[in-house]
């Protein structure tokens, strides 16, 4: 008994040692494990902790605004708030949405749309846009309750607005979100990038540089504090030479018609107005353009997306007679006796080329031929001058060349030459094989045939005639230095003859623009054009079958000119698609522009400013 008791006691003492030992062993193992984590692997875990808590968030720059010559905003930034939701951080989606719907007064349709958008979100860790363009008044109550709504955030930002969207759609252009290509170039997916017009041309200047901030976030991803901040560099403001009042006057005068207007400063090349109709609402691009709308614009036969001032080239019609006349003066070519007799047509071999005035103009000189736009005179003058000289003169005056305006793409237009290899420019084998006929030189001389020019080129041509032969680079930015791309090789007195003739177009009772422009506030000099079909008897049958096709090209109306005559200030080119007669259709638009310019100047003089 005693032995057994002693034995048990001894055994217990030994077992006790085991328990004593197990305490330091177990705790020691734990301690070793913790030491390994906190000492040897500390850097790894410290990095992970920072990755947990620190988020580098880009801060987008505010895009530079675009204003007109008088400081009116053409592309401006509006402060707005948007509400985003990160699906994976939301605890009770339906409850959250109900609260939001009540606070933001969503309609049931909008609620359904937002619900659908959340369900369609492919990545639950990426924010889904719930509502946009909200004012602080609307979001303030929500912002105060954000901590009750995990996963919901209110973001402040700015969005682009175009107050004169339809008026300036082609010139200013639009923005859209960065695409794959842009992101490869370093843009962030949330950045807007200029796609057309000035927004595209001056993208680098307007855009600015994004900054970033290092934010401390909690486990729900909510920002707790901003640790570090590298502020973004704001984009530069751009002031255009454009005067939105003139642009508006031109648009009003053009009304619902399709066409283009360019107003240019004859001394500097500043673009005072550049309008293309129809326009489109560039504001639609900012909230994400629906593809239906885009396709509607794309397939509209009136082609609203086309900038008719720079991207479209049209037959210049009679306005081209100025080029033929200049070429003749330059090259010392004149008709015998300096005049021609117009019976209303010109017989050439087996063909009969008609004058637009079938009764004929009788005896016409260069001056009266320009004033009355006599075709027969210019058939003869062109025939004598020759196609090469006409083509050279046109190029010298900047036709068939890019104007180098900071808008792309830009159409070059077509100045044909008699050289057959040049015809290769027309991809058709039909034209390539064709021999150049004498009659083709003649119809080119009156601005018909293959010739095409852009309204911007015509405005620049008018400016060159007004300013003594300086072909200028069109300038979009206010305060730009005049840039003379070419000085036309012509004597001042020769140029004066053209100027006088253009003045006659308005002043002379027989002038094609007399009726609409003779009473304008400024003395106008100009030339009208009506793109009509030159009937060629030999091809009559063929043409008749094409009659419908040709009708579409029959009625384009042109006016180009400058004012005031004595002290030229602005050059104007007006083009109206299917507008009818140049003088009566395009002329009034020029008149409206000049009235507005004159009225504005009057106001400035009365204000005591120098005109």
């Amino acid at each position: 008994m005693r032995n057994k008791k002693l034995e048990a006691r001894q055994r217990f003492d030994v077992r006790m040692l085991l328990f004593y030992a197990s305490v330091p062993v177990l705790l020691g193992l734990l301690l070793f494990h913790i030491m390994q984590m906190q000492w040897f692997e500390h850097d790894k875990y410290a990095l992970q902790a920072n990755q947990n808590r620190l988020n580098i968030v880009p801060v987008l720059p505010v895009r530079g605004e675009i204003i007109d010559a008088h400081g009116k905003g053409l592309a401006i930034n509006r402060i707005a708030y948007r509400i985003v939701l990160i699906p994976e951080r939301v605890e009770h989606l339906n409850a959250t949405l109900n609260i939001l719907a009540e606070m933001l007064v969503w309609t049931p349709a909008k609620f359904a749309l937002i619900h659908k958008r959340i369900q369609r979100a492919r990545r639950p860790d990426r924010p889904v846009l719930l509502d946009d363009k909200l004012q602080w008044l609307n979001v303030a109550p929500l912002a105060a309750r954000l901590h009750h709504l995990p996963g919901v955030d209110v973001e402040a930002g700015s969005y682009r607005q175009y107050p004169y969207a339809e008026l300036t759609s082609h010139l200013i252009g639009y923005l859209s979100l960065a695409r794959k290509k842009d992101m490869d170039a370093g843009y962030l997916p949330t950045e807007f990038i200029g796609r057309t017009g000035v927004e595209k041309s001056f993208e680098l200047k307007l855009h600015g540089q994004p900054g970033h901030q290092q934010e401390e976030v909690d486990a729900r991803g909510r920002r707790v504090a901003v640790v570090k901040r590298a502020p973004p560099v704001m984009g530069d403001q751009i002031q255009l030479a454009l005067d939105i009042d003139i642009q508006k006057a031109a648009a009003d005068a053009l009304g619902e018609r399709t066409g283009a207007v360019v107003v240019m400063d004859v001394r500097t090349g500043d673009i005072i107005a550049m309008l293309s109709k129809p326009g489109y609402d560039t504001n639609r691009f900012i909230t994400g353009l629906e593809s239906e709308q885009w396709n509607a614009w794309l397939n509209n036969p009136e082609r609203p997306l086309l900038n008719r001032a720079t991207q479209a080239a049209y037959p210049p019609a009679s306005t081209f007679k100025l080029v033929t006349a200049l070429g003749a003066l330059k090259n010392g070519i004149r008709l015998a006796n300096g005049s021609a007799f117009c019976p209303g047509y010109l017989e050439l071999a087996d063909r009969k080329l008609h004058c637009w005035k079938h009764r004929g103009h009788g005896k016409v000189t260069l001056n009266s031929a320009l004033i009355q736009s006599c075709d027969v005179y210019f058939y003869q003058l062109g025939d004598q001058l020759g196609m090469a000289a006409i083509s050279d003169t046109a190029h010298e005056l900047g036709l068939g060349e890019k104007t180098q305006i900071d808008l792309s793409p830009e159409a070059r237009g077509i100045i044909p030459t008699h050289q057959p290899y040049m015809m290769a420019a027309f991809k058709s084998s039909h034209t390539k094989r064709k021999k150049w006929y004498r009659g083709e030189t003649m119809i080119t001389a009156i601005g018909q045939g293959l010739l095409t020019v852009t309204p911007l080129q015509m405005a620049r041509l008018a400016a060159a005639i007004a300013n003594g032969g300086k072909v200028l680079k069109p300038q979009l930015l206010a305060g730009s230095q005049a840039e003379v791309l070419h000085q036309v090789d012509i004597k001042p007195e020769q140029l004066q003859k053209i100027q006088q003739a253009m003045r006659g177009v308005v002043l002379n009772p027989h002038g094609t623009a007399h009726r609409v422009l003779s009473k304008a506030a400024w003395a106008v000099a100009g030339k009208t054009g009506t793109a009509q079909v030159v009937k060629i008897r030999r091809n009559e049958k063929k043409e008749l079958s094409k009659d419908e096709l040709l009708r579409r090209h029959r009625d384009h109306a042109w006016f180009m000119g400058y004012a005031p005559y004595d002290k030229p200030k602005i050059a104007i080119a007006v083009f109206v698609e299917h507008g009818g007669h140049g003088g009566s259709s395009a002329g009034p638009v020029a008149a409206a522009i000049i009235e507005t310019m004159a009225a504005k100047q009057q106001v400035n003089i009365s204000k005591g400013e120098t005109p």
């Binding site: 055994r11 328990f19 705790l27 913790i34 875990y45």
Partner: protein, 365 residues
């Protein structure tokens, strides 16, 4: 009586109380800061129970332990029938006045009956071993079907420890260890999917970083990033920014390790070592086997809780949901543990004041 108190035990307990309240403040100061006041109240209640138990003769506990075990077993059997389900497990019993976890009571009751069983015999005969085996396996089976893997393991490990203390032959111990390992697949079979998931996630937490592995990953980041000196009181980013889950209960160790660093960990483990070694020493010095085995059982539960909890938050063990003694927030666990320490203190008192307990003539007295 004051002279007979074990002051080292008390000192380590107060040290843990102070450290626990500091860490708890760091864990809850941002959100439910009233939990801190509640825990202070639990300490007060617990210390009251502790003091009262210092006056209860062990003899009474010796008489009460069998009925207590029987009651606990009965309650445990009621759980599958009428228990409440919390978070996928049926563990709670609504007694009208309070919700109780019978498995918590059983943990202590088993220790008491094993201490009582072995108070007069050694674990060296068939009956001597088979009875405690049944006493442990029946409740363990009832608890694992709840399911509560953590408590089951604590129960089984504590029972094993008790049997070893009671003189289990080494040969049998080896056999039972081998059998235990061999029965792991059976255990795996009985485990619920979420428990299997926890084990699998433990083996590779990165496999599910936002799901089951999230807790472990975040707590290891907190511990590791604490470094040697810690990030400073209330400066821990993992805790402050709510990356740490359940940071005031099971994962509170991560807060301590993050803000206090390795130094705080050393301090905590030292306090634990002093406390547990002191409990073992009191047990060793006790004049009767019941008191000795009681202290060993209590020490075993403490060391198991500590090891499993710290092991789980630092990524060594699966997440089984055991609190860190005296540090984690939670009233019932704290009060129970203080009560257990009260019993230990009573053992210390009785052995110093030589209070007789055993009936004379008992073979191992």
């Amino acid at each position: 009586m004051l002279k007979s108190l074990d002051w080292i035990l008390l000192a380590s307990l107060f040290g843990l109380a102070a450290l626990g309240m500091i860490v708890l403040y760091a864990a809850v100061h941002q959100g439910d800061s009233e939990l801190w006041q509640k825990q202070a109240m639990f300490w007060a209640i617990g210390m009251l129970v502790f003091s009262m138990l210092c006056f209860v003769p062990l003899r009474i506990l010796g008489l009460a332990c069998w009925p207590m075990y029987g009651a606990a077993l009965l309650l445990l059997m009621l759980v599958p029938l009428v228990g409440d389900i919390h978070m996928g497990a049926r563990r709670w019993l609504d007694l009208g006045v309070a919700n109780i976890q019978p498995s918590e009571i059983m943990k202590w009751a088993l220790i008491f009956v094993l201490a009582s069983w072995f108070s007069s015999r050694e674990a060296r005969g068939k009956v001597e071993i088979m009875v405690p085996l049944l006493l442990a396996v029946i409740p363990a089976g009832l608890i694992i079907i709840q399911p509560d893997l953590g408590t089951t393991l604590v129960l089984l490990f504590a029972a094993t420890g008790m049997v070893i203390a009671a003189g289990l032959p080494w040969r049998l111990l080896m056999i039972s260890i081998v059998t235990g390992i061999a029965s792991l697949p059976v255990l795996w079979h009985f485990m619920h999917d979420y428990q299997k998931q926890r084990v699998l996630t433990l083996l590779d937490p990165q496999s599910d970083p936002l799901g089951a592995g999230y807790h472990v990953i975040q707590s290891t980041i907190a511990i590791g990033s604490g470094g040697l000196a810690g990030k400073g009181f209330l400066q821990g980013t993992q805790g402050r920014l709510h990356f740490l889950p359940e940071q005031h209960t099971d994962f509170i160790f991560s807060i301590l390790a993050e803000e206090g660093g390795f130094l705080a960990v050393v301090l905590l483990l030292s306090l634990y070592a002093v406390l547990i070694l002191r409990v073992l020493l009191i047990g060793h010095r006790a004049h009767n086997r019941f008191a000795s085995l009681l202290c060993i059982g209590i020490a075993l539960i403490f060391i198991l809780y500590i090891t499993v909890n710290i092991g789980m938050v630092s990524g060594l063990f699966p997440v089984v949901g055991l609190p860190l003694p005296f540090i984690s927030y939670g009233g019932s666990a704290l009060v129970t543990m203080l009560a257990a320490l009260g019993l230990v203190m009573r053992v210390a008192l009785e052995s110093k004041e030589k209070i007789p307990w055993q009936r004379p003539g008992s073979p191992l007295a």
